[in-house]
């Protein structure tokens, strides 16, 4: 087993764990840290699956995209709570 395969196995196991924790958590806002772990693991795995220079941009775009999405969901949730 090369270091790349070992690292891919670790990333994939963490992604599965985080995905299951996202569904099991009942509080909506507390789901977001688990979603963040999941996107870390997926961004690491796509780099390990296909090492190519464009993959750096793909991983960064994916990671920044999910971060922006979490930011927007949490901000809208906070605004909605305040207005009620």
């Amino acid at each position: 087993m090369t270091p790349e395969e070992a690292a891919l196995t670790v990333c994939v196991v963490v992604a599965a764990y985080a995905g299951i924790r996202v569904l099991l958590e009942r509080n909506t806002v507390k789901k977001l840290p688990f979603l963040n772990v999941c996107s870390f693991a997926v961004a690491g795995s796509i780099v390990l699956i296909l090492p190519h220079p464009l993959t750096i941009i793909a991983a960064a775009a994916y990671f920044i995209g999910t971060t922006l999405e979490s930011n927007a969901i949490a901000s809208t949730y906070a605004g909605g709570i305040r207005e009620e």
Binding site: V47, T55, F63, S75
Partner: protein
Amino acid sequence: MPADPLHILIAAAVSWVNFIAIDLFFRLPERGGVSGASEIGRQIEAGGGALPGGYMMGNIVSSPDASAGTLLAACGVFIAGVPGGLLTALLVYLGNRVCHDPGYAGTTGCITATFIVYGFSLIGISPASFIAGMVIAILTIQGISSVHASRLLATLWGWRRA
């Protein structure tokens, strides 16, 4: 070269120290940067955690900070060496600007992590181990227990402020 579990554990410890130190240095636990981060901090406090640790976890979720910088720098060094790491520093800075964040923590973490990962690759620890190590490091902060992680971060923040 065969894989060594010890390498992944060393990489996880180094990445953990790198991103926690830089996040504490740039005062992420002081307040929630955006309203979403403050909301996450308040919900974690309502669930039994500590407020500064909750703010820091909220900031990690809602903007690419030093943890994202460390992961993407390891990815960049894995593919293209030091220039790849510096390219990811530029991308993390752009992402920070999009998220209404000054971007000092993410960019600094990315640049330091680039040279740390490159240095460890010279002594035989592959950058791939650092990708897995950073995933394990973020798992220990965000993924196990928000209550205990926020209390640990609040303790570290108390040392930083003292």
